[in-house]
């Protein structure tokens, strides 16, 4: 819950707003493999299809009125027109009968090819503010919903560790994991997150994606990749 708004996190890595029947996903990076192929690295050309299929499964289950893609939906500016025909059809089919919003991210240009719909830099739903990257200034009682960072969390227990994509939130911000099939994750303890979760907007919770469910873990339980020198550690909310 955020204020009056009910937020539901899905283990597929998407956000569901039941009252408004809005589905939010981030960082699809469609056409990523093709972009690599262009550079001579021939990754399997099935990533766009796999990503869209996962999205279609969620859409089928929840029947949202509106789908919001939080930016970096296409890996490169020219990825949209170069998408395989079948993927384009798949996408258009999903778009039928519902509102579809492309939030524009740092990888996106204008989206065309019959898949265009509403293209915005920001969208407000009640007290929620949906953007690709968070803004520094938080506005009173709003919650920013963002993507961009591809958060991942790693925990260690009994000498073994697990690293998964995750949701991460503070009082003013919820960062979604990347939804795309070939998108990796960035450890929450990486330096890049220092400007996202600051001392004012402290990381309060981490929700890791499981195979068929989500797992709440405490920020204190997080560990770095490869015992990197801690650029920062999250202190417990009760101390300090």
């Amino acid at each position: 819950m955020f204020g009056e708004t009910e937020l539901s996190l899905l283990y597929e890595g998407a956000l569901w707003l039941p009252a408004a029947r809005v589905l939010v996903v981030s960082d699809l990076h469609l056409g990523k493999a093709a972009a690599f192929a262009q550079a001579g690295v021939m990754l399997p050309p099935y990533d766009s299809h796999a990503t869209l299929q996962r999205l279609a499964d969620v859409v089928q289950r929840l029947q949202p009125v509106q789908v919001v893609c939080l930016g970096d939906s296409f890996h490169r500016p020219d990825s949209a027109p170069q998408l395989p025909q079948a993927a384009k059809e798949q996408l258009k089919l999903m778009q039928q009968g519902r509102d579809w919003v492309w939030i524009l991210g740092n990888h996106d240009a204008q989206i065309g090819g019959g898949m265009d719909r509403r293209q915005l830099h920001e969208l407000a739903i009640g007290a929620l503010q949906l953007r690709h990257e968070p803004t520094a200034i938080s506005q009173g009682d709003t919650l920013q919903i963002c993507g961009h960072y591809h958060p991942a969390a790693k925990i260690r227990r009994m000498g073994r560790s697990v690293r998964r994509r995750c949701f991460a939130y503070s009082d003013q911000l919820l960062v979604l994991p990347a939804f795309g099939a070939f998108t990796g994750g960035l450890n929450l303890l990486d330096e890049a997150f220092t400007s996202v979760f600051t001392t004012q907007t402290r990381l309060k919770g981490v929700v890791m994606l499981g195979q068929e469910q989500l797992y709440n873990v405490h920020p204190r339980a997080l560990v770095q990749d490869g015992a990197r020198i801690a650029s920062r550690r999250f202190r417990s909310p009760t101390s300090a």
Binding site: Q38, M42, P44, Y46, G226
Partner: protein
Amino acid sequence: MLERPPLLPEQQPKDLPAVFERWFAARGWQARPHQLRLLGAVQRGAHALLIAPTGAGKTLAGFLPSLVELSTQSKDEAAARRGPHTLYISPLKALTTDIARNLEMPIAQMELPIRVETRTGDTPVSKRQRQKLRPPDILLTTPEQISLLLSDKASHRIFSQLRYVVLDELHELVTSKRGDLLALALARLQRLAPESRRIGLSATVADVTGLRAYLQPQAALDADSPPKLAALVEAEVGAPPHVDILRSAAWIPFAGHSCRYAYDDVYGLLKQHRMSLVFVNTRSQAEMVFQSLWQMNEDNLPIALHHGSLDVGQRRKVEAAMAAGKLKAVVCTSSLDLGLDWGDIDLVIQMGAPKGASRMAQRIGRANHRMDTPSKAVIVPSNRLEVLECEAAVEALRAGAQDSAGPRQGGLDVLAQHVMGLACSGPLDMRALHREITEAYSYRFVSKDLLQRTLDFVATGGYALKAYERFAKLRQDKNGHYSLRHPKLAQQYRLNSGTIVEAPVLTLRLVGSSARRGKRPLGRGGRVLGSIEEGFLEKLTQGDSFLFGGEILAFEGIRENEAYASRSKADAPKIPAYQGGKFPLSSYLAARVRKIVAQPDAWAALPEQVRDWLQLQQEKSQLPTATGLLVETFARGGNHFLVLYPFEGRMAHQTLGMLLTRRLERWGLQPLGFVATEYSLAIWARQDMGAAIQAGELALANLLEPDLLGDDLDAWLAESGLMKRTFRNCAVVSGLIERRFPGAHKSGRQVTMSADLIYDVLRSHEPEHLLLEATWQDAARGLLDIRRLGDFLQRIQGNITHQHLPRVSPLAVPLILEIGKEPVYGSAEEALLQDEAAMLYQEASL
């Protein structure tokens, strides 16, 4: 002096120039018969394999044809040659340096007009450029460098006047992907220089025919005829080695691999000998043994440490000190295994059972490097089961038996890399390429269709969905030849070539301790201590102590590709658990161990403790038989155990454990886990498996049917992390994913991430893909020991005996002690997450 058989007329070399005769005579030597026979065979135009034990002058023999030919070359001839006259290829960089040193001596003493140079990954770019412009007469190098040179546009010019290719330690090379790459490179060299001849040098091996076939160019496009074989020259056998198993008065433990009980005895042996080599099987063990020997070193003996993770400078120092005879002992791993010739060693100590008879022979060869005096070695078993293994190894040595693996069927990932490399050197004609690669014995099996698929894979990834035609790396020109789309791709190839995909390693540097440094940040620089695997460091947190280079260090942290550590005052270090260096028990030794256990008559040679233990097993249960399988069941600590004694090695047992657990799960017996050692396998379950067997509800014959390796195996493999790791290797070797990008270093983690994702996507969308085929081949052959398991399941059919026991059997004790040391499998990851979540919940409900 040994009797030497006279040379038959047809074995006489055409000519050994007088300068060579004089040189031999001046040192009081004479050319050995096998050296002359090899020279003769090669001079008559044959490709030849020389098999000789260490210390038999193998290296000189290999170079003799080149030296003889080059000794008479004129200045003009030398200047006219635009590439090396002779290539020497060895598996180890260190070996090239060593050989260069050894070659300089006869060349200088005979005043031969011959230039020798090395070229390895460490050779500076400027020197490599110069070597292209002004090639040495003899170039000493590694398989990787040959492949790189072959990808050069000038490769035709460089190699067209090549005369000899000397392949050292061939037995070691042919068993790996490096051997595959080398086989393909040799086929190309033969095409560039049809008159060139190959000389293979090998230690004694089991599969001589395989090596001869590998060395000999085969008839193109003919996979079915009996293979053509290279000429064979065998050196006379030297004095048989004296090998003993350490008889310690100390209690021999049931499990573990530290050999700690024997340190006192070992120290005593070191004192008694001039110079000893102490071989261990893993790098962590090397650290531990070295540390412990120093702690008891009251006499201040000069003892050194040598293993692959240490800094090169450090290793060179130790090698130099050995050569100068300044050391009393060196504790080492396989980094000193191959034919490096240093110093005057009179004792080899092997800590822990050697995992193969051939490896043992090779190591013992270090002692007394002269053929006519026997070498002396002592094997130190680390636990009671290893006593049996050591006994088997010694028997094998006495019988002169060998168990090393022969050449393998070439990997498709390596073929893909080679094809890309050739494309970098110039346009490829598909038909000529097919002829060329099928002349390599390891690649005889490649059909036209398979080669086309490989080409497609290289060009576009080879996906059924033709999505990347417009990005194709290789394009067909108007003649139908394949050529590179862009010269930049050649650069990409050069950065990513090679077949060794190592676990990611970081450079380890010594820095001041954080305590003294206070809050100041870590400084850059610091002395390089060596390299260390990232996986190991992941387990450490700042301040943890570990052993490295014989010192106890405190972990300080990692930055980019460097790890930092300071000197620690701790006296109880965590011990490095290196991945590398764990050898599986060879099937040959396994069979011998099984035989010893099954025959009480053969126990006389065993230490009393071990004999008692086996006798107790005979009383309480029964002995495993030489050909069948003994299965025991008993209850312990609330669990029901099922113990098998296949004696097939840890890897095969792990695969078997995985498969049996799946099957028992399906049959409702609720297995909870399993543990595997080199000799045995234990599975524990909620349900009483022993009772089920006795009641006829569980049939062991059905459980252990050969069809176990069918669908169950496929289903398990698809999900296993092992398969993903194998896939990652294949993906890197084949060039599908990059080792590193020009300019930016991709960390090991990132490679792992994307390879896993690709694996999953390929499996669901294109299960027939070339790379999955290559992965499966690799896994089946190496990591899983599928063939060995298959043979095992066949062998034991109708020959399984079951003992239902009231308590744990004596033979099962070492195995039960292993429980808890093994990682958990299966759904453990999800359970871990659940645990973490439960902790949080507990905290919240306080």
